[in-house]
């Protein structure tokens, strides 16, 4: 595959449940340099689902305006992130019997196998967004490049991400409305992984991106995406739990979560009394820290139990009959936590206790100090993924998306 010539200016927008972040950068001497950055509180999105398009539109518009002003460049095309329950992945394969008398695979055999895989229609009402190439096998043996190798049966595997058609039209339409083209969608969890996991990590690693509305996970094995999924629970749920338990406002709950929250509940917390404002003035309230950590840790741990269950279900589908275990032989690099909720105290310890795998907080590698936080892994990763664009090979049904874009382009 020949590397594509990328426009030197790259803009990405990550629309999350809590915040919308945009980053504009440029490739200079093979390194990404940040030109503009903007961040705003997202409006009109609840639990990862758009509920008020007009408010979201206004918010995205403001972010784009900000980033154009700070970079001094006008944006023509962007990469959008894709997360939550809107995106759904499945593994598909194309099978091709190798016809030549000497049984050698030709480039055409590979193309035929790919074509046969892509002929599989997505479920009704869903559109294919992207195909991620997974290891190709010859007679069940995984090979890096099958061309020229001998065998009888060639199989190509893809991880296909589909999205609700209406939802995609809405997002593309919204960005088109600002006279900006959508160049591509990138899976948010994949983006988070690109920013935090090295290639050697990707020999076996689980990246969990816990945002405000959803918790997205992605599993890499031998440098390829094995599977990915999403649980509709996020940091917002922890804030909500706290506001219900203590009967306090959302803002207070958010503040207490950040200051006193923890993903682990310790017996000693119950003896600790904390003050809401700390000035002990009028309207200040006392809370038991144990209540806060108990509420948050229960939710946090439950979410990761759901993640674990989801992964096991996916693995069962991928390798029916094989009891694949989530252990260090399978995932030597362990777990990387990203997203805003990775900031919760003791997050890594709690996840380690549930998953029994070494866990670390993923901090994106980027020249700017201000973006070296787990909550920016998504947007920095979008940038990284947009620059590299291909590995792991991303092949989209260009025709379909292009025609869709044309549809919304005046």
């Amino acid at each position: 595959m020949t590397p594509k010539l990328l426009p030197s200016l790259i803009a990405v927008i990550d629309i999350g449940t809590h915040k919308t972040v945009s980053l504009v950068g440029q490739m200079i001497n093979g390194k990404a340099r940040m030109l503009g950055f903007s961040e705003r509180r997202t409006d009109g999105v609840v639990k990862g689902t758009v509920i008020d398009l007009e408010r979201l539109h206004r918010c995205v518009h403001e972010v784009v305006n900000d980033v154009e002003r700070s970079s001094g460049r006008s944006i023509e095309q962007v990469y959008l992130s894709l997360s939550g329950p809107a995106a759904e992945g499945e593994r598909i394969k194309g099978i091709h019997a190798i016809p030549a008398h000497d049984g050698k695979v030709t480039a055409k055999d590979v193309t035929d196998a790919i074509a046969s895989a892509k002929r599989l229609e997505p479920p009704a009402g869903r559109a294919t967004l992207l195909y991620m190439r997974q290891p190709t096998t010859i007679d069940g043996r995984a090979v890096a490049n099958p061309v020229g190798m001998a065998g009888k049966r060639l199989e190509v595997h893809f991880w296909r991400v589909t999205m609700e058609e209406g939802n995609m039209r809405m997002r593309v339409g919204m960005v088109n409305g600002m006279s900006i083209k959508v160049r591509d969608f990138i899976l948010a969890s994949h983006a988070a992984a690109c920013a935090t996991a090295s290639d050697s990590d990707k020999q076996g690693v689980l990246v969990v991106d816990m945002g405000a509305g959803t918790t997205d996970w992605i599993l890499y094995y031998k440098e390829h995406i094995l599977c990915a999924g999403s649980i509709p629970v996020g940091g917002e749920h922890m804030t909500n739990d706290l506001s219900v338990a203590l009967r306090i406002s959302r803002e207070t709950a958010e503040d207490l979560k950040i200051r006193f929250g923890s993903a682990l509940h310790r017996e000693a917390d119950a003896n600790q009394t904390i003050w809401k404002d700390g000035d002990r003035g009028l309207g200040d309230q006392q809370f038991n820290r144990g209540t806060i950590t108990q509420v948050l840790s229960l939710r946090y741990q439950e979410t990761f139990e759901y993640v674990k269950k989801d992964i096991m279900q996916h693995l069962e589908q991928l390798f029916p009959g094989h009891a694949v275990k989530l252990d260090q032989y399978f995932l030597p690099a362990g777990i990387i936590l990203t997203g805003g909720s990775a900031n919760l105290a003791d997050a890594a310890e709690a996840v380690h206790a549930i998953m029994q795998l070494p866990t670390r907080i993923g901090v994106p590698t980027f020249e700017n100090d201000s973006l070296r936080k787990p909550e920016y892994a998504g947007v920095v990763g979008l940038m990284t993924a947009a620059i590299t664009d291909s590995p792991p090979p991303v092949r989209r049904q260009r025709g379909f998306l292009a025609s869709l874009k044309d549809l919304f382009r005046f």
């Binding site: 909500n240 739990d241 338990a245 009394t273 809370f287 038991n288 108990q294 509420v295 439950e302």
Partner: protein, 376 residues
């Protein structure tokens, strides 16, 4: 006919009858016991008790098979017999297991008759375990809505909460014993206030003044402490009582009824310290009625039980005009709806998100019924 008892403990339905039958042996003799059920087998558990078999024509002595409508029809058919056992009794404490047919259907009807003949009715209703299925849950929820309007006080006991009090590997009998211990302790403590011999006594009218308003949320908590600082330990245990931490429990009430029972070592200071601690937790600004009693059997144990209720929010005249009659079935439904919104908080009004049949927008600690440490 002998003089009616000052307190009548009534078991209704299969679950209610078994709880009462198990408790009856350890109750003071001043408390009368009656069993009401459609199924005659329930009565064999406690020979000699006053029994009323309802719905003989409807069910022919078998159960209701989980049909709530059949339960209420059965109770209505035997109105005269039911009214007779309540006549002259100042306080009726009813125990009913909701979810099944007789408990869910007949509870409101029976409570209604008791209230109409002049008794103050306090009902302990146990809610089914959540894994007993949606139908029983729904039937129980509907029943609490109607029941709350009929009796003066309604204490909802969530079986899920009680289950959490015992170790996970405890045998089944132990879980049920734990549930009995809570309800039984509560009843004994409550009854102790009205039978002769209390140091600081209360009369049935006092209870009535607390539970004056049918349909208002009722709070009940019970705690035991032993040894050094037993009174404060008991008060603290009452503050953290699982009965007061249910999904729908109220946390602060206007009127309180506090009963302290202790061994011969119980001091006045200790008793009132406990009352003060309970008041800071539960309120009781409008009125607090205190009862104290010495029971030599208790040794260094001190038991604190708390009963309280808030006045319901005054209805605006405009709303009353629209014909919100008492007993209007839309009223409890409305309360239920707001409770649902309370549970989902900021997500109230958004579509529910289900994983494994649970609405995961509801906080984990509520779904798992985990008791939270008390606020300072």
């Amino acid at each position: 006919m002998e003089r009616p008892p000052s307190i009548l403990l009534v078991g209704l339905g299969g679950a209610g009858c078994s709880i009462v039958a198990r408790l009856a042996a350890r109750l003071p003799p001043e408390i009368g016991v009656a069993l009401i059920d459609t199924d005659t087998r329930s009565f064999q558990q406690l020979p000699g008790a006053t029994v009323v078999q309802i719905g003989r024509a409807q069910t022919r002595g078998m159960g209701t098979g989980g049909e709530a409508a059949l339960g209420s029809a059965s109770a209505e058919a035997d109105e005269a017999a039911l009214r007779r056992i309540f006549t002259g009794v100042p306080i009726v404490v009813m125990v009913a297991g909701l979810g099944g047919g007789t408990g869910s259907g007949a509870a409101a009807v029976v409570a209604g008759y008791a209230a109409e003949v002049g008794a103050t009715v306090l009902t302990f209703a146990t809610m089914p375990f959540s894994h007993e299925g949606e139908r029983r849950q729904r039937q129980a929820n509907e029943a609490t809505g109607v029941l709350g309007l009929k009796c003066h006080g309604l204490v909802v006991v969530h079986n899920d909460l009680l289950l959490q009090q015992v170790a996970t590997d405890a045998p089944l009998s132990e879980s049920f014993a734990a549930a009995d211990a809570w309800v039984g302790g509560a009843l004994r403590a409550l009854a102790g206030a009205f039978i002769p011999g209390a140091l600081v006594a209360a009369d049935p009218a006092a209870l009535r003044s607390i539970l004056a308003n049918p349909g208002s949320p009722t709070l009940f908590a019970f705690g035991v402490g032993t040894g050094e600082g037993a009174a404060m330990k008991a008060a603290r245990a009452a503050s953290e009582c699982p009965l007061a931490h249910g999904p729908s429990s109220v946390t602060k009430v206007a009127s309180l009824f506090v009963h302290v029972t202790g061994g011969p070592t119980l001091t006045t200071t200790a008793a009132f310290e406990a009352v003060a601690a309970v008041r800071t937790r539960f309120g009781g600004e409008t009125s607090t009625i205190v009862c104290a009693r010495v029971n030599p059997d208790l040794g260094d144990r001190i038991e604190v039980s708390v009963l309280g209720a808030s006045l319901p929010a005054p209805k605006s005249p405009a709303k009353a005009k629209k014909g919100a009659k008492a007993g209007d079935p839309s009223q409890p439904m409305f309360e239920f709806a707001t409770e649902e919104a309370m549970r989902r908080g900021l997500f109230g009004g958004t579509p529910m998100t289900f994983i494994d049949g649970q609405d995961i927008d509801v906080p984990t600690y509520i779904r798992k019924a985990v008791r939270l440490p008390a606020s300072p």
